[in-house]
Amino acid sequence: MKLSRRHVLRSAAGLAVTLPFLPSLARAATPPPRRFIGLYSPNGVNTKYWFPTKGGSGLDTDFTLNRTHAALQPWKSNVLWFGGLDMKVALQGQGEQHQRGLGGLMTGRKILAGQFVGNDGTTAGWASGASIDQLLVPVLGMGSRLASLQLGVKASERDVSGVLSYAGASQPLLPQNDPVLVFDRLFTTSGGPVDEMERLRRRRASVLDGVREQLGTLRSRLSTADRGVLDAHLTQVRDLETRLTATSTTVGTCNAPLRPTQMEVDSPARMGDVSKVQLELLSLALSCDLTRCATVMYSDAKNHTTLPFLNVYQDVHNVSHMGDDDPAREALYTRDAWQVDQLVTLMQKLSSSPEGDGTVLDHTTIFWGSDVSRGNTHAHDDMPFLVAGGGTGWKGGRYLRFNGRPHNDLLLSMFTALGGSATSFGDAEFCTGALSGL
């Protein structure tokens, strides 16, 4: 059942499907699209082995990688290490630290009141605004077939502890843990002769017009709150209609890989295998320009899981609580190093896809964060953040330390560097302006 890399990559001649987009290779004439990927791993890191050591010169390029980042040595020039950024948005408010940290990580916003019971018994609701990946959709994503992708690797919780991306306040986008379903969404698309496509487009227009009318007939009988629900639904149908019925003038081909084998995606034992396929599908989706904005959640903020594929049979959340010098905390380093391997895998895949003068990685920004900095204190200061890839145009190979600046400032900086227009990001009280020296 194990899915080999070769297996996934091999493209069967009969499976090549016609998709309404240009392959990246044929895109040389137009400026390459830029992309954003948000990555999440839970409960902070083993900080002892995380932050680089600064060199004597004081230059931000003068530093030695710590143990956890050994695998990033060959990729050093593609990565920016951040230190001294605080997730101030998560310091207080509804919910507990893990909920607040996850809810605020990509949104820069506090979480709302609600009924989700957190790790410490307090209750909370969803995040109170859209996440950066969603805010970047209109900036980066126009023209790709899917607005965005939310992928999960055993992201089990189905409440604020299990959601990284938000379309807006209380509009959670739960990640998809099953690569087979991701594959079907990306690659099972109707194709065929042009007149057949035209017929389908016309039929879809009739159907979705009908659906919108049905939404309208129901609306009058509803409360203001319920009308809001239907209006959001209506907007989503309208967007779908626009995307499905758009007349594509450029039809290219992108070879679909073989459909992945069905896996026990909820089993901790399969996390390694699932991650491999999810990252493969993600890089294909970006390289083929099926989407430009994505997030990947590893586990969730509760993270009561073992990692059998790493020979870790303890509950990782509990391990994250252990003292800095407890030998059992080594398991957290093992997890962190594996997460670094996943980042390296993703960068490898993206950099193997040529585009314009460089590779897809050169036009992609990957932001990796967690819900707390250290599990044993549940702190939100000195967050372990990395930014990789060339989408922002920032020079890599540097370790930048900031003295307690809010992480909203980094979100703002990424948002504007990727083409967004803003002077603040998330809750304004936790944003002091874009970071300098990037």
Binding site: E96, Q115, V117, G118, D120, G121, T122, A147, S148, K154, S156, R158, D159, S170, Q171, P172, L173, L174, D184, R185, R202, R203, R204, S206, V207, L208, G210, V211, E213, Q214, L215, T217, L218, L222, S223, T224, A225, D226, V229, A232, H233, Q236, V237, L240, L244, E264, D266, S267, A269, T305, T306, P308, Y313, Q314, D315, N318, H321, M322, A328, T377
Partner: protein, 544 residues
């Protein structure tokens, strides 16, 4: 929110060393208006799949591709938090196109059968009216019908009759009248001020999704159309018909899957070094099936809370029977109901599967087991300690018992205030190891499995020591607090929302009916169906 209030009161109690007496319930008046509730509840994936099966004979489970529903208090049918997303709407479209195409190809008779000599236009109009009504679970309004007819006409002109059937079906399957259980209610003549009464069709859908997990059958829709559901007695009669139907099994399964979080078994692991016989991944499906069968069979056939908590039966395949030392399996490849030694195993709390889940990968967990009793069965969850506490369960140690390690660990003053309530309940389970197997010895020391319910906020009788889980189960099975807890839980599931203060009266009446029935499951469901919460809605706010 009485139980939420209790939760908070208990959290406060954890900071003192003495448990306060039960707080008095807030005074209730039974002429309050109904609770605020959404008129729209999105179908869950499970409901969608069973609905397209009943409506169109489609058994492909297309909704598995939909985004997962969020969960509140364990239930995935909560209307307030389950909303559409761009991905969901895209997935509805993909599923609707595929289901409609299969229906036209394989099950056209379920859509329409044109009479001989009937022209396409007339047959199409008939299809829109009759099949549309089945899909929307009520007759169409004039506007709905006209809009669907427009779709039919446009596609008929371009592509012909079958394509028009397919397009209308695709439209219906994406319409909110299909995707949501729609229950706005209408101003009625009921006794409560500012209330709306759900009409017969709205009640029919609410009823069938509650008791069957799927759409109403023709008889239920006919009863709705004949105004037979307009009275509580008429609604009860239909509820009893549904409960007596074979389709009630799927309804029980759906409640059990969510209430007992059967899906959590998919994520279970046991450390091979600690539990070599239970570390293989195939155990997850086996445990899940064993627990699900026990709960289903007991609720359907014994039908009482007492049976659920005390029935000395485990459903086992040959492997499970052997691993847990259960006798009487015939050696077939089936799960069989095996009688257990009632002094060791009786009821839900002693099911091997549940005990394996309420444990760590490498040791048992008195904390998780205690919290299950207090939270799931007594609706008295203890707020865990402030998150600044550094909570680390004791490490496995080959020289001491789990009980000693946990007791020592919780001796710290700040831990003690809560763990003095949680742990004693869980210590009573120490004859069951981390895989749920019986043990008399833990790391070479005899097991001490005396336990205690230290605090029962709504039933002082429940407090006190016990020496075995079956003894505890017998006490729980007779406790009004446990009955009321199950009533509240079923209420949340049946209404797709968490109770609010306006529901107190309705809940009290449900609880008392359930208690006087001797804890009969079907009587609880019927009491919920008869309640104001089920049949009425508050007049909603509409901004101008």
């Amino acid at each position: 929110m009485r139980y939420l209030a209790v939760l908070l009161a208990t959290a406060a109690a954890c900071t003192s060393t003495v448990t306060p007496p039960s707080p008095p319930d807030p005074p209730t008046t039974c002429d309050a208006q109904p609770a605020e509730a959404s008129a729209l509840r999105l179908l869950t994936r499970a409901e969608y799949d069973r609905t397209v099966e009943d409506l169109l004979g489609d058994t492909t489970r297309p909704a598995r591709a939909f985004p997962r529903e969020p969960k509140a208090f364990g239930f995935e049918n909560n209307a307030a938090i389950h909303v559409t997303t761009a991905e969901a709407v895209e997935a509805y479209n993909t599923a609707a196109e595929a289901v409609a195409a299969r229906a036209v190809k394989d099950h056209k008779a379920l859509l329409v059968t044109c009479a001989s000599g009937e022209d396409d236009k007339a047959c199409g109009a008939r299809f829109v009216g009759t099949f549309g009504a089945r899909a929307f679970r009520r007759p169409l309004s004039t506007a709905e019908r006209a809009s669907l007819q427009t779709v039919f006409d446009a596609v008929y002109a371009a592509e012909g009759f079958d394509a028009a059937l397919e397009a209308v079906t695709t439209t219906l399957l994406q319409s909110p009248q299909f995707l949501y259980v729609v229950q706005p209610g209408t101003a009625g003549t009921g006794p409560l001020p500012k209330s709306l009464e759900l009409d017969g069709y709205e009640l029919a859908s609410r009823l069938s999704y509650f008791l069957w997990g799927t759409m109403p059958d023709d008889a239920l829709l006919t009863a709705a159309g004949a105004h037979k559901l307009d009275t509580a007695d008429g609604l009860e009669a239909e509820a009893r018909r549904l409960l007596a139907s074979p389709k009630a099994q799927a309804g029980v399964d759906e409640f059990v899957r969510q209430w007992l979080d059967l899906d959590a078994f998919d994520a279970l692991t046991k450390a091979p070094a600690s539990y070599p016989d239970f570390a293989q991944p195939e155990w997850n499906a086996r445990w899940k099936q064993s627990l699900g069968l026990f709960a289903r069979d007991t609720l359907l056939n014994d039908g009482t809370l007492h049976g659920l908590l005390t029935r000395p039966v485990v459903f086992a395949d040959a492997t499970l029977a052997k691993a847990y030392g259960l006798r009487g399996h015939t050696g077939s490849d089936q799960f069989e109901a095996l009688a257990t030694d009632p002094a060791q195993r009786a009821g839900l709390l002693t099911q091997p599967a549940l005990l394996a889940r309420l444990a760590g990968p490498d040791q048992s967990s008195p904390v998780r087991r205690g919290l299950f009793v207090l939270g799931q069965l007594m609706c008295q969850p203890l707020a865990p300690p402030p998150a600044t506490f550094n909570i680390v369960p004791p490490k496995v140690d080959q020289t001491s018992t789990t009980r000693d390690r946990f007791a020592q660990h919780s001796a710290r003053a700040e831990c003690h205030s809560c763990h003095q309530i949680i742990d004693p309940a869980g210590f009573g389970f120490e004859h069951f190891d981390g895989a749920g197997a019986w043990r008399d010895v833990d790391n070479g020391h005899p097991v001490d499995a005396t336990g205690s319910i230290v605090s029962a906020l709504r039933d002082a009788q429940l407090q006190g020591d016990f020496t075995s889980v079956p003894e505890l189960a017998e006490k729980l099975a007779r406790s009004p607090q446990v009955m009321n807890c199950l009533a509240t839980t079923a209420f949340r599931y049946g209404l797709g929302r968490v109770e609010s203060p306006q529901d107190l009266c309705a809940l009290e009446s449900i609880e008392s009916t359930f208690q006087s029935s001797g804890g009969r499951w079907n009587e609880l469901l019927v009491a919920i169906v008869r309640s104001d919460g089920f049949r009425l809605r508050k007049v909603p706010e509409v901004s101008p």
